[in-house]
């Protein structure tokens, strides 16, 4: 069965992200665009942890580049747990979440994303995605 923990477009965790999250950048002099996704599960009573060492290793979100060398580089994306954190986040760096994340709307974690294009190459770059480490979801 699929994980119930996923990225959502709203804090209430009602709308899982089913399609690529769009960012629009001007080809010249682009301005950074910030968006927020929410990671969590609408199912109260469930928890998720890193499968590598449940409760010890953190849940992490990495920026995966499916086509390194083409499209956008991972460094064009910054991740943070707050809007203010984006200013100091390192482009391309993974984001650590807590070791254990509870299910339920109240425990949704806001993941702030900032994109600033460095390619200046007109087109749609679909090579980047946010991917968690392998997770283990279980009853709380």
């Amino acid at each position: 069965m699929a994980l119930s923990f996923a990225f959502h477009s709203d804090a209430a965790l009602t709308t899982p992200v089913a399609a690529r999250l769009p960012f629009v950048q001007a080809v010249s002099d682009p301005v950074a665009v910030d968006r927020v996704l929410y990671f969590g599960s609408p199912r109260a009573g469930r928890i998720c942890q890193a499968a590598s060492a449940p409760g010890t290793d953190p849940v992490t979100i990495s920026i995966a580049d499916a086509n390194s060398g083409a499209g956008s580089p991972a460094g064009d994306v910054r991740l943070a747990l707050s809007a203010g954190g984006l200013d100091t986040a390192v482009g391309g760096a993974a984001l650590d979440l807590p070791e254990t994340i509870d299910g339920g709307m109240a425990w949704a974690i806001a993941v702030h994303i900032r994109v600033l294009d460095s390619t200046h190459a007109s087109g749609v770059h679909n090579d980047l995605s946010l991917v968690t480490n392998t997770l283990r979801e279980a009853p709380a």
Partner: protein, 614 residues
């Protein structure tokens, strides 16, 4: 086939508990970084081509689209999309409703590409036309569901980006019976802005602010004949909006009256056989005056034991110590009364809109104190005070007694009044006042924003609800805020257009907002009640007044004995008593009272600009 197909059961229904087993996997979310050139949107000579990308569930149905694809968005409502497609199989018809939908469009121009998300939502309804083998999908985003999913007041308030004005009195949140949709709807009426879910599915709160336009479209950038100007209807812009908050509380009064009495000369006891005034009669009389109470303890003076006289007839009046202890020779006392008056303080402000409609466009609200004024008024001090010691109290009071000990608070000033809000705190009052003003502000701003300019141009997905745009075409020069958007793409003809509706309010600033401060009604109540004149009224005497004003017959009422030379069998004889008639409370100090007090408020409405030339 089995009556129930267990394989069709989706455990995703099971969201209420933490059941289920252990699952492993990863979660992911793709990013689409569209690097675009503004040249794609230039309406200069050349051509532009486009292609839609529609994903229903996990299936890309772009190649099956037919007819037109239309997307509508507006302030404070769900974004809706309608599209028609050719289903691949009959089985598809059962699977559309509830599926997630995204609609993207890619615009191509020589050397330029731009992909934009136009819609994120889910299929609300599907309708299959058998004759054409087409299915029409009606889709919308989760604008209604989003507030309803909130579990706390804070979550609802967060949805409004801190722009809402809350009032726990006027719009309370109940943890016992949460109604987030109603709470959201109520708060939305106070927001100087609008809400929407953008094309990417992200909730947005858009302040009503009109600054410099992000883009200006001259005649060459809009379709000929597409520019329309709609004036605000007369009913939308009344002459004024009045915001009123009625606060129902109590004005608590307190009045004191000093009374005193002194016995007749001792000789009357001998000559007329008058009775002495027992202490018990005084105390009983003072204690039983309706509505009045004794402050502290009356100061009763006993006669000094001894012989008084002789009179001209040689008689003496003798008072033993035992008798003296029971007799009141004179006394002073303070009587007090506390009473309440129901008061409705009406806080109000009138916001002039300059409209011509005389329609009553008022915001009215009321809050009430739960103070039990009746219990406060009727509580007797004697029941509260335990008087054990007559003297040498081992635990004497540490402060000077006021005489009001044992009475429930609050204590109005002596011979004055106190406006008591009960359980309504000052911050709650301020919040309630702010909320009615905020509602008035929104109503005023909404009315002004009914003045609109609409225009169409080639598909332009750059702008969302709230964007400030300007137009200078067809004799219309206007700057306003996008309040409605319609994107329409025709698959067969290739035509595509965006229609924008700009709210162009006639305001008085660049940012919609308000300030409001509750006024405090003045209270200059001062009581000066007339003390009753307590005398000695002797009946059955030749000196007895034949028909006195009964209101003045107060004090000790008694009669001469029949054996007295002054006895007059035909003169009025009194019922022996100590009579006290306290002054009445005037009706204006007792009847329900309404006090008007202004709210100090200022409302600004973001102003657009509009000029029309022929």
């Amino acid at each position: 086939m089995a009556a129930f197909d267990g394989g069709a059961y989706d455990s995703a229904f099971d969201i209420g508990a933490g059941g289920g087993g252990v699952d492993t996997g990863t979660a992911s979310a793709g990013l689409a970084i569209s690097v675009v050139s503004p040249l794609v949107f230039a309406s200069t000579s050349g051509s532009i081509s486009w292609s839609p990308s529609v994903v229903v569930g996990t299936a890309d149905v772009s190649a099956r689209l037919s007819g037109s694809l239309k997307i509508n968005a507006a302030e404070d409502s769900a974004r809706v999309a309608t599209l028609t497609l050719i289903p691949a199989t009959a089985a598809d018809l059962d699977g559309y409703e509830g599926q997630a939908v995204t609609i993207d469009v890619t615009l191509f121009r020589t050397g330029q590409t731009a992909t934009y998300r136009l819609f994120t939502g889910s299929v609300e309804r599907s309708e299959f036309t058998l004759s054409e083998r087409l299915v029409s999908l009606s889709c919308r985003d989760g604008w209604q569901e989003r507030p309803a999913a909130c579990a706390s007041a804070a979550e609802v308030e967060a949805l409004l980006g801190g722009l809402a004005t809350t009032s726990s009195r006027l719009l309370p949140w109940s943890d016992a019976k949460p109604d987030p949709a109603a709470y959201f709807s109520g708060l939305l009426e106070t927001v100087p802005g609008a809400t929407a879910i953008d094309s990417g599915g992200v909730w947005q709160v858009v302040p009503w602010e009109i600054g410099a336009p992000a883009a200006t479209f001259p005649a060459g950038e809009v379709f000929d004949g597409s520019v329309d100007v709609t004036s605000a209807a007369r009913a939308d812009v009344p002459a004024a909006v009045r915001a009123t908050l009625a606060v129902r509380g109590h004005r608590l009064h307190s009045a004191e009256v000093d009374v005193d009495w002194t016995a007749v000369d001792y000789s009357r006891y001998i000559i007329d056989g008058l009775p002495t005034l027992p202490k018990t009669m005084v105390l009983e009389a003072l204690a039983n005056i309706s509505g009045w109470h004794i402050k502290g303890t009356p100061a009763i003076v006993e006669p000094t034991p001894g012989s008084y006289g002789p009179t001209s007839g040689g008689a003496y009046y003798v008072v033993s110590p035992e008798q003296a202890a029971l007799i009141c020779q004179s006394f002073t006392a303070t009587l007090y009364r506390r009473w309440y008056q129901e008061v409705e303080v009406v806080h109000s402000v009138t916001i002039d809109l300059g409209g011509s409609s005389s329609r009553d466009d008022s915001i009215n609200a009321a809050i009430a104190s739960d103070f039990d004024a009746s219990a406060w008024e009727s509580a007797a001090r004697a029941a509260e005070v335990s008087e054990i010691y007559a003297a040498n109290d081992p635990h004497p009071p540490t402060v000077t007694p006021t005489g009001y000990e044992g009475l429930p608070a609050p204590w109005p000033p002596t011979n004055g009044a106190l406006d008591h809000p009960g359980d309504i705190t000052a911050p709650e009052l301020q919040a309630a006042v702010s909320q009615v003003v905020a509602r008035a502000m929104r109503r005023a701003a909404s009315g002004q924003r009914r003045r609109r300019v609409t225009f169409s141009r080639p598909l332009d997905p750059r702008w969302e609800i709230g964007a400030v745009l300007a137009i200078d075409a067809g004799g219309v020069t206007a700057t306003g805020q996008v309040s409605e958007i319609e994107h329409e793409m025709d698959i067969e003809s290739g035509a595509l257009a965006s229609t924008f509706t700009l709210a162009v309010p006639a305001g008085n600033g660049s940012v919609t907002g308000y300030t409001a401060t509750a006024g405090a009604p003045g209270n200059t109540v001062s009581h000066a009640l007339t003390a009753p004149d307590l005398g000695n009224w002797v009946g059955a005497s030749y000196d007895t007044l034949p028909d006195p004003d009964e209101d003045t017959v107060q004090g000790f009422l008694c009669n001469v004995v029949p054996t007295s030379d002054n006895y007059d069998a035909e003169a009025p004889a009194y019922v022996t008593q100590f009579r006290v008639v306290m002054p009445d409370i005037a009706a204006p100090l007792r009847d329900p009272l309404t006090i008007e007090t202004p709210i100090t408020a200022a409302v600004t409405i973001a102003s657009g600009s509009l000029s029309i030339t022929f």
